[in-house]
């Protein structure tokens, strides 16, 4: 427990780790779903502090990483048009499409703007009535309600030069797909806390029962993660498989009802391709029929795109927890954050980037790698 001093509350962390150690009697594999959690785990070397019996498998919970190449290419195509102001969250700028990224499109003269909130894109549309403003709407259940509200407001205020390129993904169908895979080794889930702060926990009991897998809603600070692991291991050792909330300060069972109602109004559930993984049934949202006018894919003709994925990149296997990033041959050699082959190396929430930043080439975590005071 060498690096425990680095934790915000080392005493609490020590207690949790000792409890996990005392509870565990055999090997268990847990998946943390959220990329933010992966980041915390690697940054603090939590996986190395755990007893050998507990293995953490990194999940697909990085929205930037799982946005399909085809959608990125559509974004690049739309962003390059002279009449368009293309608005995006900052972390999409360097995600590689087939042959370039948004950063490059701007360099070539495209009007690409970074916004902090989707409402900023709507404001830009108001201020530029003679341009077409397109917002890149990606993300999980945490990001979808803000984007839904923005489309709702566009219609309410009659802003016609605004549209959204929508590629939202939903967590529960991904958990289901992971459990259904014949290669699946996951025995327990740390569910993504912020997704649940919107959606609540109602979607999980059925999944936990059907797959006989514990699901513990977990925050993403180091102590939150240790607590989530402790509860999951306790359930596994007892042969239980229920849904527990270990992130009560931010997650109510019903989530945020106003946000959920808006999601239901603006979006409809659809099958969605995940980059590197393939199509997962019912795992995404698109704009509902009555909001189709605001769908950038309908407004702009972006058919006939051919995509070309790197042959070396194994991010699909990384995202499903089948391999660890450093098991990919390109890791740290032909693929680095400065020259990424796959989105999992681009986004700070991506597993490959987390390994690269905090554990270069699989060497053990060093104290300097943990900037926590």
């Amino acid at each position: 427990m060498k690096y425990l001093e680095e934790f915000q509350n080392p005493e609490l962390a020590r207690g949790l780790l000792e409890d996990i150690r005392a509870t565990v009697t055999r090997p268990w594999a847990l998946m943390e779903v959220c990329g933010g959690q992966t980041h915390t785990i690697i940054r603090h070397g939590i996986d190395q502090l755990l007893p050998d019996e507990v293995e953490l498998i990194h999940g697909p919970g990085c929205p930037v990483c799982v946005t399909p190449l085809e959608v990125i290419d559509k974004a690049l195509e739309i962003a390059g048009r002279p009449e368009v102001i293309f608005c995006s969250f900052g972390d999409m700028l360097r995600v590689p499409g087939t042959d370039r990224d948004l950063f490059r499109v701007r360099g070539e003269g495209g009007d690409v703007r970074v916004v902090y909130s989707p409402l900023d894109a709507l404001r830009i549309a108001r201020e530029n009535p003679h341009r077409e403003v397109v917002f890149f709407g990606i993300g999980f259940e945490t990001t979808a309600p803000p984007n839904a509200m923005t489309v709702y407001q566009a219609r309410k205020h009659g802003i016609e030069n605004f549209s959204m390129l929508v590629s939202h993904v939903r967590v529960p169908p991904a958990i289901d797909a992971i459990m259904n895979s014949p290669d699946c080794r996951v025995q327990g889930f740390l569910a993504a806390g912020h997704v649940c702060s919107v959606m609540g926990t109602v979607e999980y009991p059925e999944l936990a029962a059907r797959h006989r897998v514990p699901i513990v809603v977990t925050g993403f600070e180091p102590l939150d993660i240790l607590e989530g692991i402790r509860r999951t291991v306790r359930q596994l050792e007892r042969g239980e498989h229920t849904v527990e909330n270990a992130y009560e300060r931010a997650v109510r069972p019903e989530g945020n009802p106003a946000a959920r109602a808006m999601l239901e109004d603006v979006f409809e559930v659809t099958d969605r391709a995940w980059r590197g993984i393939g199509v997962i049934p019912q795992s995404g949202w698109r704009l509902a029929e009555r909001y189709r006018d605001y769908d950038a894919e309908h407004r702009f003709d972006v058919g006939g795109i051919t995509t070309l994925e790197s042959e070396l990149c194994r991010s699909g296997e990384v995202l499903q927890g089948l391999i660890k990033p450093h098991e990919c041959e390109a890791f740290g050699t032909t693929c680095t954050p400065r020259n990424p082959l796959g989105a999992t190396m681009v986004s700070t929430e991506g597993a490959c980037a987390a390994y690269y930043l905090y554990r270069r080439l699989g060497t053990p975590v060093t104290p300097e790698a943990i900037p926590v005071g």
């Binding site: 915000q8 959220c34 990329g35 933010g36 940054r43 919970g61 990085c62 929205p63 930037v64 969250f89 900052g90 972390d91 700028l93 360097r94 950063f103 970074v114 902090y116 909130s117 989707p118 409402l119 900023d120 993300g139 999980f140 945490t142 990001t143 309600p145 803000p146 509200m149 407001q153 309410k156 205020h157 912020h194 702060s197 919107v198 600070e221 300060r249 931010a250 997650v251 109510r252 945020n256 106003a258 946000a259 808006m262 680095t336 954050p337 400065r338 020259n339 700070t348 929430e349 900037p371 926590v372 005071g373």
Partner: protein, 97 residues
């Protein structure tokens, strides 16, 4: 982007029929939409994601999280200049060619 940051409400106002707040995130001040937490009041804390308050948070947890984020540099990541960040990450790429 997936990071949700706790913030404290400084002011609340109605703007174009939308309930908006000015909120403080450890020194960075941003506009935040309150439509999903309409009864949030001045002085209270909430988890904010891409400019929307999504869930109330007690003051102590909010402060703890903010301190941690500041130490980890995550606030700069969330509120810093994304073009600079993207250019910096690309600088090596150009050099490598």
């Amino acid at each position: 982007m997936c990071l949700a940051v706790p913030g404290r409400v400084l002011e609340i106002e109605e703007r174009d029929g939308t309930r908006m707040a000015v909120m403080d995130f450890g020194g960075v001040v941003k506009d935040v939409c309150l439509e999903y937490l309409p009864d949030l009041e001045v002085g209270e804390y909430a988890i904010v994601h891409v400019g929307f308050a999504l869930q109330r948070l007690d003051e102590e947890s909010a402060r703890r999280t903010l301190d941690l984020f500041a130490e980890l540099g995550l606030l700069t990541e969330e509120f810093g200049d994304p073009w600079e960040a993207a250019a910096a990450s690309g600088a090596g790429e150009e050099a490598a060619r």
